[in-house]
Amino acid sequence: MRAQGLLSEPGAVQPADHVCWTYEDVDSFAPVARQFLAGGLARGERLLCVGDDVVDRIRRGVEPLADVDALLDRGALELLPLGDAYDSTAGFAPEQQLTFYEAATRRARADGHRGIRVVADVTALAADPGRRADLLRWEHLADDFMASGSGMSAMCAYRSSVLDAGVVVDAASVHPVVHAPGGAPPFRVFFDDGRVAVAGEVDAVGAARLRRVLATSCADRSAVTLDLSRVEFVDVAGCRLVAEWARGLRDRSAEPRLTGTSPLFRRMWRLLRFDELTGVSPEGRHA
């Protein structure tokens, strides 16, 4: 099972981590980025830092990443200004991003690293309304890639002081591990053990957001499992969107499965006649 939850400190880093870290100013974020990267270095991973301000701070060579020049020289660290990573004229294509990171991870492993550890400050992308939907789709695609045992892990940084609160919550919602002291997302969606997992509370307010996330998820798979074992609360609107998701997949001849549902969820599903509507019987929480 992947690490998931709400974080207050960067803490111990693990393979397949996908952390959303929100911060107020870059000077407070730089030590967190260094600690996250240093954890990867200790594990023998290649490090990649994407961004503008954060790249400047890493370049200064502060402990625990003091010897930046040596790391750069031996190819253990790469610093990538945001403009180089995301071409501002060509738009932002999640599939292209995936190709880039797949190649980078493959290269790192071929060069003898255990994988690749990325810190990416994507505040500028999130601030651009035209790119926001694609950014969310990319985050979700990337999470699938990280969960699959590819060897990639990442910390995605969002500067909350310059972004709308809703944008930050949207972004945090597609990470298994979240540090967002100013406003933790009510639920998170991530990949785990081949399933799409939902953790937290899904009510009428969050239902539209979950609908958007699920719409970007697994559109090309024939069997999709939604794991609800970490859901603490779901209301009628949340249950309804799961039913619509399931019905949408059935209409495309896919086979949706619902696992880890609570007794109350199953009662609600039956009372609202969603079993008849979707042909799907939710499964319970097995040991």
Partner: protein, 315 residues
């Protein structure tokens, strides 16, 4: 009270009939012929009675009991706001399959509390608008003569027809618009010691926590607490989305019950909201229906001055 003999048995539409009985023998003498007549006419017969009368009918029907659907009213009608959906399902299933249908339903029986009997009366008046425009069927509602006079008088208001040994009499006391006033009537005020708070957009999670904490403090089991938490979330969301954007939460304990009430400035136009079975055609608007299914007793009232939903959970 005057009554007129009907010219003929009701034809076509829904016929909502009351019959009064003195004791168990009298109950059987009045209800059994109604059931047998249905069976002889090859109608589907659905009986919703509390014990011991459910058993009494089963024994009296002997082998014919197998041909009758017997439901425990104490179960399906514990919250009277759930009963109309049960009859709707029977209408859909049997009349939809081309058969005739007759029902026996006794929601208001001796032993129920005043607050339950009040909801039974509202349920009875709402049966008329619920089925008046649909296919024809007969529903006979037995009332015990030992029920309080106000309950028996209410039965004559809510039922257009009173069944007597000689046939159906139309009741002068029947008020076809009774549901309008009953749905808008005020509930008795909460006690002065009740906990009161206001909620608005963004407060629904806090309402859930407050209700869950109150339910736990009242000694409700985890399962009942979670039912109430879900119901609270639906009702607070309704206030914010459809009830003027905000509402009041009032909570208090009564002997044997935890009570949670939601009030807002909106108006529920259709008094049958939450009582009808969810259709498979449209997927929206099922919050109040679920609240009715999850809660021991739901009292919904709505009028020009706003909407109140009072949830009672027995301890």
């Amino acid at each position: 009270m005057t009554a007129h003999l009907l010219e003929a048995a009701p034809v076509g539409g829904f016929s909502h009939e009351v019959v009064f009985y003195r004791d168990e023998d009298d109950f059987l003498a009045r209800v059994l012929p109604f059931v047998r007549e249905g069976l002889e006419g090859d109608e589907e017969v659905v009986v919703a009675e509390p014990e011991p009368r459910l058993d009494l009918l089963r024994d009296a029907l002997a082998d014919d009991a197998r041909a009758v659907t017997l439901l425990d009213m104490a179960d399906i009608g514990a919250n009277p706001a759930r009963i109309i959906a049960v009859w709707e399902a029977a209408v859909d299933e049997h009349i939809g399959a081309g058969r005739g249908l007759r029902g026996v339903g006794e929601p208001a029986y001796v032993g129920r509390s005043d607050v339950e009997l009040a909801e039974c009366q509202l349920h009875e008046v709402l049966l008329n608008p619920a089925f008046s425009s649909g296919p024809g069927w007969r529903l006979l509602c037995p009332y015990d003569e030992q029920l309080p006079p106000a309950v028996r008088a209410g039965a004559l208001t809510s039922h257009p027809v009173r069944l007597t040994p000689t046939g159906g009499l139309s009741s002068d006391a029947h008020d076809p618009a009774a549901h309008v006033g009953a749905f808008a009537a005020l509930l008795p005020a909460p006690p002065g010691t009740a906990l009161r708070s206001r909620y608005r957009d963004g407060d629904v999670p806090a309402v859930r926590r407050a209700v869950a904490g109150f339910a736990t403090g009242c000694g409700l089991s985890r399962e009942r607490m979670e039912d109430l938490e879900l119901a609270a979330s639906e009702l607070a969301t309704n206030s914010i989305r459809h009830g003027g954007g905000s509402g009041s939460l009032v909570m208090w304990a009564e002997p044997g019950a935890a009570v949670v009430e939601f009030t807002d400035g909106g108006r529920v136009a259709d008094p049958l909201t939450g009582r009808r079975r969810p259709s498979l055609d449209q997927i929206g608007g099922r919050g109040l229906y679920l609240v009715n299914q999850l809660t021991d007793l739901v009292q919904l009232r709505s009028g020009p001055d706003g909407t109140t939903v009072r949830l009672t959970t027995w301890r």
